[in-house]
């Protein structure tokens, strides 16, 4: 499906607005949209709303064999799914340029920055390590997916707990959460991506572009940074030329934004921890905005069970009685059987004939045998190929070279070669 095209007046208007330092939703140049972080019922499940952009991250783990060159390290795997739900332009199962870009950037941001202690994920050196998988699903695309993805991924990793394992000898036991408390990952720092979009060859700059702003931008600069102001990755795209000062200014802005966002994440994690400790319900059901008129919730309700069993009984008893006998199948030759008199199939057009004049068939086979023998003689003399069947009706066509030790049983099996893929094999045993 195609995205709605952008019309000229929209483009002109947006660029003019940016010149006047105005944005569609009334933000200032360096403002982020409202960031909302919520958690699912599971550990390691996190939703991030960035204005109308919405993504979900889920962390999962699995015991696998480590990579050969790193026998003592766990494996990190990232997958950003551009679900068609997020935008009509996204197609399922197709690796688009955007999805490659997002996946790369997330890997650079979280794996290459070594923010996670992968050595602590080793269970048995060289044999079993934890593979941590981060799936990030786009739910609604209203621009700046990357920042939303990076916030969701790192928050989900912080929130995640893996099961505890015990090692006795070479036996590895994975404990359920009831047996032993699951263990959080050890995370050194939290890199967060901040995106800047540039307009008019870099003259104007906006933080956190929305979808329409992204469509008119000239270039994009993504800076991944942690709260210690360490830059984890810088990526510019769109082919714009940036001055050193511009990059420096962006990194300064990024450091402010990153510390704000980090604080927000920590607060969200803290709140969730409290809620879980208090034993309150948490997760998606709780995060549903009940004040909205588009939302409604209903408490646990009992289903009325009056006359349910009566009704079931009635239907079962009314049912027709089953016939006492079922037709007996016909087994013309070992390994083949047939039941039913419905229409015949194209595979056995002459099976009906077979049944009707099976005696004849037998005779035919006998004659065939004889013919075969005589032909065998012929063949041994002349080495020529002769078709056995002279009957007009006979379908089986056999090229029969010399085979003196053929038993009658063998011929028997050829007769049902009419049923394709016959059971010749048995006779060979």
């Amino acid at each position: 499906m195609k995205d709605t095209p952008l019309c000229n007046c929209e483009r002109d208007f947006l660029l003019k607005a940016i010149e006047e330092k105005k944005r569609l939703d009334g933000r200032q140049t360096y403002d982020y949209r409202k960031i909302k972080i919520t958690f699912g019922t599971d550990y390691g499940c996190c939703f991030v709303d960035l204005g109308k952009t919405r993504v979900m991250a889920q962390v999962s783990c699995e015991l696998v064999a480590p990579k050969d060159n790193r026998p003592n390290e766990g494996i990190m795997f990232f997958n950003v799914e551009l679900s068609p739900m997020a935008s009509p332009a996204f197609e399922q199962g197709r690796q688009s340029e955007l999805s490659v870009k997002l996946n790369r950037q997330l890997e650079r941001c979280l794996r290459n920055s070594k923010c996670i202690d992968t050595e602590s994920l080793c269970v048995v050196s060289g044999e079993k390590v934890w593979q941590i998988r981060v799936d990030v699903h786009m739910l609604n695309h209203d621009g700046n997916l990357m920042d939303a993805v990076s916030i969701a991924a790192i928050t989900a990793l912080c929130h995640f707990r893996r099961p505890d394992v015990g090692i006795q000898g070479d036996e590895v036991t994975v404990y359920s959460p009831e047996e032993r408390d699951p263990i959080p990952l050890s995370i050194y720092h939290m890199p967060i991506s901040v995106s800047f979009s540039f307009f008019q060859e870099g003259t104007y700059l906006l933080v956190d572009p929305c979808e329409r702003e992204e469509r008119v931008m000239d270039g994009l600069l993504m800076i991944a940074m942690n709260k210690h102001r360490e830059i984890c990755s810088i990526q510019s795209s769109g082919g714009i030329m940036l001055l050193k000062e511009q990059v420096m200014r962006c990194s300064k802005i990024a450091s402010v934004k990153v510390s704000e966002i980090t604080e927000l994440i920590n607060k969200a994690l803290e709140n969730d921890k409290k809620a879980r400790k208090a034993g309150g319900r948490c997760g998606f059901a709780e995060s549903m905005p009940q004040e909205r008129i588009t939302a409604l919730k209903k408490d646990k309700t009992a289903v009325e069970m009056t006359d349910v069993s009566e009704r079931a009984n009635e239907i079962v008893q009314k049912a027709e009685a089953l016939p006492q006998t079922v037709p007996s199948p016909v087994v013309p030759v070992p390994g083949v059987g047939q039941v039913g008199q419905g229409p015949q199939n194209t595979w056995g057009l002459d099976e009906e004939e077979d049944e009707e004049d099976s005696d004849e068939e037998q005779e035919e086979q006998v004659t065939k045998m004889e013919e075969e023998h005589s032909e065998n003689k012929e063949e041994s003399r002349g080495g020529e190929v002769v078709e056995i069947s002279d009957s007009e009706e006979e379908e089986v066509v056999i090229l029969h070279p010399e085979k003196p030790d053929r038993t009658p049983k063998n011929t028997g099996s050829t007769s049902h070669q009419k049923v394709a893929a016959s059971s010749k094999k048995r006779t060979k045993k």
């Binding site: 795997f77 199939n345 194209t346 595979w347 057009l349 080495g383 190929v385 002769v386 078709e387 069947s389 007009e392 006979e394 379908e395 089986v396 066509v397 056999i398 090229l399 029969h400 070279p401 010399e402 085979k403 030790d405 050829t414 070669q417 009419k418 394709a420 893929a421 016959s422 010749k424 094999k425």
Partner: protein
């Protein structure tokens, strides 16, 4: 992590029990009579069973069984081409697809089409194309699908025969039938229509070794496809081709007969249905 998400998945790795046999498998002798009693160095092909028009949904179909090699072929079309480029406007397109059922070989195969299958499909295509009057089917394509149900050697040769039979059954105009035959050369001696074991267990040391498959148009007396693997002297190769042609001529009456009876069967106009 590329995984096949469109099939039910089993364990990551599994191995055939034949790798753990307590007794080593019997190695075929490279001289003397063959395992199935046929003669070496003679045009001794396996008995074949052929049948046309089995598949109700296909325009034309054929089934062939030679020894334990069982394969079937369905032909669909001519129908409108999916890809439209210049060449198709005047001349029809022939597509071939040859596959092995996962259970068709001693070792379980994958569902995903491998290089060997693609190679065979191509070879099949090249062998059939000269025989089909494609200029009679402009802007259309004819699809040939071959499925190997059991591989007991010489699959390509039999696939060619089976496919040409199915094309004929589909009523596609052809210059001639195409028949396939293959030989396995092993030093000085050779075997015609080799079985799977004979194909795979050839002795490594000796020279002049290889496998040859010939696609042959019997009434035109022309060769439409030739594939040879391994190393053979020029003399052996020409002799081999001659042997294969001889083998094809042995098959010819059987194929003709099968086709004739299928035509005869179709001759009375089908009642109602």
């Amino acid at each position: 992590m590329p995984t096949d998400t469109k099939r039910v998945r089993g364990p990551e790795v599994s191995k055939s029990p034949s790798l753990y046999l307590s007794k080593p498998p019997v190695v075929l002798p490279s001289h003397g009579p063959r395992a199935d009693g046929r003669q070496r160095d003679q045009v001794d092909v396996r008995p074949v069973f052929v049948r046309c028009g089995l598949v109700s949904q296909a325009k034309g179909s054929a089934y062939i069984e030679a020894g334990n090699t069982k394969l079937m072929c369905c032909v669909y079309g001519p129908r409108e081409t999916e890809r439209k480029d210049e060449t198709d406007m005047k001349c029809g397109r022939l597509t071939t697809d040859m596959r092995f059922a996962p259970f068709s070989c001693p070792e379980r195969g994958s569902w995903i089409q491998g290089a060997q299958e693609k190679d065979l499909s191509l070879m099949l295509h090249e062998s059939l194309q000269p025989a089909v009057c494609l200029h009679k089917y402009p802007r259309s394509q004819i699809e040939v699908n071959v499925m190997v149900l059991e591989n007991s050697g010489s699959v390509l040769a039999h696939a060619i025969t089976c496919a040409s039979l199915a094309l004929a059954d589909a009523g596609i105009e052809m210059y001639d039938l195409v028949l396939g035959c293959s030989i396995q050369q092993d030093g000085a001696s050779y075997v015609v229509d080799p079985s799977y074991m004979e194909e795979s267990c050839s002795s490594v040391s000796s020279e002049n070794q290889g496998c040859l498959t010939v696609a042959f148009l019997p009434s035109l007396n022309q060769i439409s496809g030739l594939q040879s693997d391994g190393e053979m002297t020029e003399k052996t190769l020409t002799a081999g081709v001659r042997t294969c042609i001889e083998g094809c001529y042995k098959l010819y009456p059987v194929i003709q007969q099968a086709l004739a009876s299928a035509v005869r069967k179709a001759a009375p106009p089908p009642s109602e249905s």
